[in-house]
Each structure stands twice: as structure tokens, then as C-alpha cells.
């Protein structure tokens, strides 16, 4: 019964909504193949609308589940999501709500309990059928609201249905298995639209820990950590991804370290010494692995943090990064374009120190070198190799094996650079609010 004017107004309002959401560029070919289209901005707002609460879970539970669902996508893509409770509804990027039958003026009526559980639109809203029995994660019965939400958010971000066992984008619901996560191909699907995750790191290291087996044997294990400012990820090398649920804030996982993060990590590991140090600014801490916190004072009663100039005489501060080389029992401190080699046994700088980074670590390919201001120097036990990281790139230092097969390789030469995300996958930021 609308007049043509009302219909035209409605149409214009709908167009305005779409334009406001900044639709990405589309490529069009004569073969009618459309390229990926996606949100053009990286921080998206969402809200569970007030008139669309479910009658089955508390509002807090619903919001918690949606926060978790958005965070799961954030952990594998460059997108960040923030719940916006203040802005006018029509500027919210993604609105969620529960309804039954005819709902919210939506043209797609829900069918009651069973069959269709939700629907969503690309760059648009998500509606959940409240006649379904939605349940919290790991409840065991009903339909997992978390799983459905992750699926529908996938549609909003631009993913279609995917007929692959294990994909979250399968059209039909699979009863929840314990701890479902986004698998490798789902991650690549979303990254095909939005790109991979890039960013500089404060430091990267393998954390050595000793454990006693049930038989009383001491075994040595390691975990790989990437740190960026006040957050960190545990990287699971065998799975080619970070630990589910990361990043975590530094102050939660590393007690006693500055909450804004660190510049460098050094593990001095020899027959005589087994000491872990973190560096930040002009100071450093020694970390107590057994009690999982920074030492408050050293063996002489001097309180931590201590000045780098006192503990490592001759080493300037702040430093860019550092690592301990077991081959010569020196700590290599990087600052600007120079490298300061510190003899741990002599407790002083090595002769002819400092030296230019380009001399100590010559480029194999001329011009392909970080030259200065490294982000991280990382010895990986997984790869048994030293890596230098700067920005989105890394260089692998040619080790003994490489030099055995190619005798012309100079000592400590840098192999051609590659992108960090080609070696270590899906190390993605989440919104600061989600971090807490």
C-alpha cells in the first residue's frame, strides 16, 4: 500500500546504507567473473540490538558469545571488531538480533523450530531464529549460538557457503564438537578477501623449559612466542598457527615485565649459565622460569630492573633487539645499524665491537638487507636457524648446513628476504578491548 514516493524514499535509504558501509571495489570482466568484494575498513562496529534479544540466554551471555565469535574472525584476519553501544543504530556496521516468524520488517520469514536457524547479508545484518534452541558453547545439546554466529559473520564478511567437511561455512549445521575453531582453509578463505596479517614485532623467541617426566627424567621443551607491544602470541610450529585464543596481554602471561612489552629477549645458555633476560628501554630484568615471574633482585641483592649499562657494560640503550649465540658465547645487541658483541664470560664487549650489521651479516643478494633498526633477532629451534626480522620481512642467516652445500656462502650471510607471514601464519591483532 505504499505510494511510489514512499517506495522511492525507501530505496534511496537502502542505497545510502550500502554506500555508508564503503563497499570495496569490484572487478568485472567480460566473463562475468566478479573479484572479491569486502569491507573497505579494518575496524568494524557491531551491536546486538535491544529489540532483538533472545529469550533463551541472558543478554550478557548473548553479547559474550557474539564478542567471542567476532574475536575468532579477528584472530585470523586483519579485521578488528568492537561492540558499539552508543552510536545511532544506522551507523553500526553489523547489527545482530533474534526474531521469530516475521521479524524486524525482514522479507525472509523464519520457519519455526528446526530447519533454518539464521540468515545474514553481505556487509549487513544478522538475524537469528529464536524458535531454535540456541545454547552456549560446549553445552552439548541444542544449537551452538557461537557456531552459528561465526558462520553468519562469515557471510557478512563476504564468504559464501563452502561444501567442505570441517569448514565453518558449510550450509548445514553440524552438532558442536568440543572447541571448534577456524581451520586452515577457512582462514585462507577470509584472507583471500582481506589479506593476511602483517605488523612489526617487538621480539620473537623460543622459550626453553625443563620438565620432569613421569619416570623422573628431565626433558627440555620449548615454546615459540611472538611479542608486539603489550601483547603476545604462542606460535604452534607444528600446526602453522598461533594458539587458539591468542593474543594475550603481556601482563597476564609474563609477571613482572612492563605491560607495554619489551625490546628484546636473551637466553644465555651454557654449561655454567642458564639465565633469561628481558630488555626494555635502558633497563633489563632477569626472568625466573620456575616461578614464572621476573626476579625482584639478583644474587647480590640488587633490585630489578637494572640498568643495561650496569649489567652489560659497554652496551648502549635502548637496543633494538638481541640474541645469544651459543657458538661463541656472545650476546649480540643490535642498535641502529651497529652490532655490539658482548662476551658473557669476560663480562665485557668483545674487541672490535661494535661492528656494522652489514659487515657481520652480509647480504647474499646485494641490496637485500635490513641494514638497521631490526625488530627481532630470533634463533628458532624448530628450524635450527637464526632469523632477523624487520617490518613485514625476515632474513634467514645461512647456517652450517647451507654453507656445507654451498661453500661460497659467507659466514652469517643473509639469505634473500621473505615475508614474515609466509613463514609464520596468522599472527593477527585483535581490538584492544577484546584483549582485555
Amino acid at each position: 500500500n505504499r505510494t511510489s514516493d514512499e517506495a522511492e524514499t525507501e530505496k534511496q535509504r537502502h542505497l545510502q546504507t550500502l554506500m555508508r558501509k564503503s563497499i570495496g571495489r569490484r572487478k568485472r570482466s567480460t566473463g562475468a567473473l566478479w573479484g572479491p568484494a569486502a569491507f573497505a575498513k579494518s575496524v568494524l562496529t557491531w551491536r546486538l540490538i535491544g529489540e532483538g534479544y533472545s529469550s533463551q540466554l541472558s543478554v550478557d551471555e548473548q553479547r559474550y558469545i557474539f564478542r567471542l565469535a567476532f574475536r575468532m574472525w579477528s584472530e585470523v584476519s586483519p579485521l578488528q571488531f568492537v561492540e558499539d553501544l552508543r552510536s545511532p543504530p544506522d551507523v553500526i556496521d553489523i547489527r545482530l538480533g533474534f526474531g521469530t516468524g516475521r521479524h524486524f520488517g525482514c522479507s525472509q520469514r523464519f520457519d519455526g523450530a528446526g530447519r533454518e536457524f539464521a540468515h545474514a547479508w553481505f556487509l549487513g545484518d544478522i538475524h537469528f531464529d529464536d524458535d531454535e534452541h540456541f545454547t552456549a558453547p560446549n553445552t552439548g545439546s541444542g544449537i551452538s549460538l557461537l557456531k552459528v554466529a561465526v558462520h553468519e559473520i562469515g557471510h557478512v564478511l563476504g564468504l559464501p557457503h563452502i561444501y567442505r567437511s570441517g569448514s565453518i561455512m558449510q550450509p548445514s549445521y553440524r552438532p558442536q564438537d568440543d572447541g571448534f575453531e577456524l581451520d586452515w582453509l577457512d582462514r585462507k578463505a577470509i584472507q583471500n578477501l582481506y589479506g593476511g596479517c602483517r605488523g612489526r614485532f617487538s621480539t620473537v623467541f623460543d622459550w626453553i623449559r625443563k620438565e620432569r617426566t613421569a619416570y623422573g627424567e628431565v626433558v627440555v621443551r620449548f615454546n615459540t612466542y611472538f611479542m608486539r607491544d603489550g601483547q603476545y602470541w604462542l606460535y604452534e610450529n607444528r600446526s602453522n598457527r598461533t594458539r587458539f585464543g591468542d593474543p594475550v596481554s603481556v601482563q597476564v602471561g609474563w609477571h613482572g615485565l612492563p605491560s607495554s612489552g619489551v625490546d628484546a629477549y636473551v637466553h644465555v645458555w651454557s654449561r655454567e649459565t642458564d639465565a633469561v633476560y628481558f630488555f626494555k628501554g635502558a633497563r633489563y630484568w632477569r626472568y625466573d622460569s620456575e616461578n614464572d615471574q621476573a626476579f625482584t633482585e639478583d644474587s647480590d641483592g640488587r633490585r630489578y630492573p637494572r640498568l643495561i649499562s650496569e649489567g652489560f657494560p659497554g652496551v648502549p640503550s635502548p637496543i633494538d633487539t638481541a640474541y645469544y649465540d651459543r657458538r661463541d658465547a656472545h650476546v649480540y645487541f643490535f642498535r641502529g645499524s651497529m652490532v655490539y658483541m658482548f662476551d658473557v664470560k669476560a663480562n665485557k664487549l668483545a674487541p672490535k665491537s661494535p661492528r656494522k650489521m652489514t659487515e657481520l651479516f652480509p647480504a647474499l643478494t646485494p641490496g637485500d638487507h635490513p641494514t638497521s633498526n631490526l625488530d627481532a633477532a630470533y634463533f628458532s629451534y624448530t628450524h635450527n636457524a637464526l632469523f632477523l626480522l624487520k617490518g613485514a620481512s625476515y632474513w634467514r642467516v645461512a647456517g652450517r648446513r647451507a654453507r656445507k652445500t654451498s661453500r661460497s656462502l659467507p659466514y652469517n650471510s643473509l639469505l634473500p628476504s621473505r615475508e614474515v607471514q609466509q613463514q609464520w601464519f596468522d599472527i593477527c591483532d585483535v581490538h584492544a578491548g577484546a584483549l582485555k
Binding site: H14, A37, G112, A118, F122, T139, A189
Partner: protein, 165 residues
């Protein structure tokens, strides 16, 4: 309030009036296939506007079903509810649905297909108009290993076009 007695509401009861109608015959199956784009890709994005309904009325399917019945059945296997001389579009759509769902591709509306159609599912169509044919949507099945692999669909040299829908 929907009645329940357990603390976790796992025994929440649904009144029969709120139950979704099940897919039971070729008529409702045809509606299902049409709704989710197997008969013809759906212009899903246009349905975001209120009062836009791209789905046909049920009467259309009723007419089809009637015409199929009038053509007569000769024999039917137990559990199969197809009729001979099904419309080619319906059979094609059914085959496609069975293929992507990992069902035996029989072209017949059998029990396995019925069960699959009645499973809880997302309301977004599986086949949309102008659907993006990228590595996310183009799926090849590795017949030998039974694994599904995504394939990258190369795009031709394109002209950037700002699109306002």
C-alpha cells in the same frame, strides 16, 4: 514462556505451532531447491530490503506437483518419492544438491536426501546471482583421497569499477 524444567533449559519445549514444516515430498523439496538457489541462483542481496520477496508462491509448486501426479506413477521404490518424468530442472537441481551435500547422487528424492534437506541450516542461499567464483566458492573434490580442495579461479584482466549497488 516456553516451558522447561532443567536449570540449563536443555529440555525447552517448542509448541507445535512453532515447528518448521518438514520437507516430505517432491513439492516441498522443489521449494527447498528453489529457495536455496539450486533451481536458479537467488538474488539474495536484494532481499535485505523489506517487502522484497524473491521467492515464488507455493501455488507454483503445487501446480507442478499436480502436473507430475497427473502424468502418473508407474513404480516407486520403497522410500523414494519421485515420480517418473520429473521436470529436468528439478532433477538437475536435485543432483546438484546431492553432489554438494556428499549424498549418493541418484537424482531421486530418497530418504537420505530428505534427511539432508531437513537438517538445521543457514537461510542464505547456496547459489546466488553473481556469486563470487573465487577460491572460496570453487571447490574441487579430490576423488582419490576424498578430500575437498579449493581451487583458485584465475581472473581475467579487469577494469576497476566502483560499484554502488
Amino acid at each position: 514462556e516456553k516451558p522447561f524444567h532443567s536449570r540449563d533449559r536443555s529440555d525447552l519445549e517448542m509448541s507445535s505451532s512453532h515447528l518448521a514444516e518438514l520437507i516430505t515430498d517432491t513439492g516441498s523439496a522443489q521449494h527447498f531447491l528453489f529457495k536455496y538457489g539450486f533451481m536458479k541462483p537467488v538474488n539474495w542481496e536484494s532481499t535485505q530490503s523489506p517487502d522484497v520477496d524473491t521467492l515464488p508462491d507455493d501455488d507454483i509448486f503445487s501446480e507442478d506437483t499436480v502436473s507430475l501426479v497427473q502424468e502418473g506413477t508407474t513404480s516407486s521404490r520403497s522410500g523414494d518419492t519421485n515420480h517418473p518424468r520429473e521436470s529436468p530442472d528439478f532433477v538437475r537441481a536435485l543432483l546438484e544438491f546431492q553432489r554438494v551435500s556428499g549424498l549418493p547422487v541418484t537424482g531421486v528424492f530418497d530418504d537420505a536426501t530428505k534427511v539432508a534437506m531437513n537438517k538445521p541450516r543457514c537461510g542464505v542461499p547456496d547459489k546466488e546471482e553473481d556469486q563470487i567464483e573465487t577460491s572460496t566458492a570453487a571447490v574441487d573434490r579430490n576423488e582419490s583421497s576424498g578430500l575437498f580442495n579449493t581451487t583458485a579461479t584465475p581472473q581475467s584482466n579487469d577494469t576497476d569499477v566502483d560499484v554502488v549497488q
